[in-house]
Symmetry: C2
Subunit: 144 residues, 2 copies
DNA sequence: CCGCATCCGTAACGATACTG
DNA sequence: CAGTATCGTTACGGATGCGG
């Protein structure tokens, strides 16, 4: 028992939440490519979650997405969509109309993501005020 | 009906997943401070999720965390912990021993986060290989 | 309509050295 | 032991303009 306070999770059930990168390290892999980072990096960047959120509502065309996410730039929208497409989360379909139209929709893999993601967003909404007030208090205490 | 393809969510139940920032915008608030961004910004940064993951296993001291997350620097560990403390997700307790020891543990708010977070991590583990192979295929196709 | 290319400022991150 | 301070680099993101 080399680890201190190995503890037990207060979680639902099954194995520990940290097994994910524990296993990764023990397997001698690059820590930067453990599943948590590989997936959460995308979740965490500024726009991907928002794009996913919109696409969960149904397929949309490029400019529709652009309008629905008011302050995103075309550059960032493209980049986010490309990453999601690369990961197999979003499917891109080009209709050779004139002018061309491109539709983006979630793949089955993408749909399977919406569940967990929704949970997290729900949590964010539910506790947003609590967090904001906590921050104010913290900042006030450390103003002196 | 100004929006195209308003669609319906294939989600569990309740209101749409995108209501979160829809409401935010309609209320005339700053989009950068909608709940999704306010919370997910932290989830997404390089270390916070990992720290949370470890703390879900029980309280730990600073250097213990440092050792358990092999490639984190003290600087980043401190920063991540401070942010989490500020948000009321982590509690910092100083024991005035000599030398001093500081313990970090999840608050009730933090514990409530572990559920949704765990779901997401589980998803990441389950689909990691699928994503990686998808990337390889995508990259191969776009190599020409 | 749907992008891509370029430039550029900022902020995140990493490494290192130092303190109570 | 538990941090802080400083510096350099790199990656992210915004603005703009062009092309198919």
């Amino acid at each position: 028992m080399t680890r201190e306070a190995p503890g037990n999770l207060g979680l639902v059930g099954g194995e520990g939440i940290e097994t994910c990168f524990e296993r990764w390290r023990e397997a001698g892999h690059d820590m930067n490519r453990c599943p948590v980072r590989d997936v959460l990096d995308h979740i965490g960047d500024k726009w991907t979650t928002l794009v996913l959120t919109v696409l969960a509502g149904g397929p949309h065309r490029f400019n529709a997405l652009d309008r629905m996410i008011p302050d995103i730039s075309k550059r960032m929208l493209t980049q986010s969509l490309r990453n999601l497409e690369r990961d197999g989360i979003v499917e891109r379909t080009v209709y050779p109309t004139k002018p061309p139209s491109v539709e983006y929709k979630l793949t089955p893999l993408g749909v399977s993501l919406t569940g967990p993601l929704h949970e997290l967003i729900r949590w964010a909404e539910d506790h947003h005020e609590e967090i904001r007030s906590g921050r104010s208090r913290y900042d006030a205490e450390n103003a002196a």
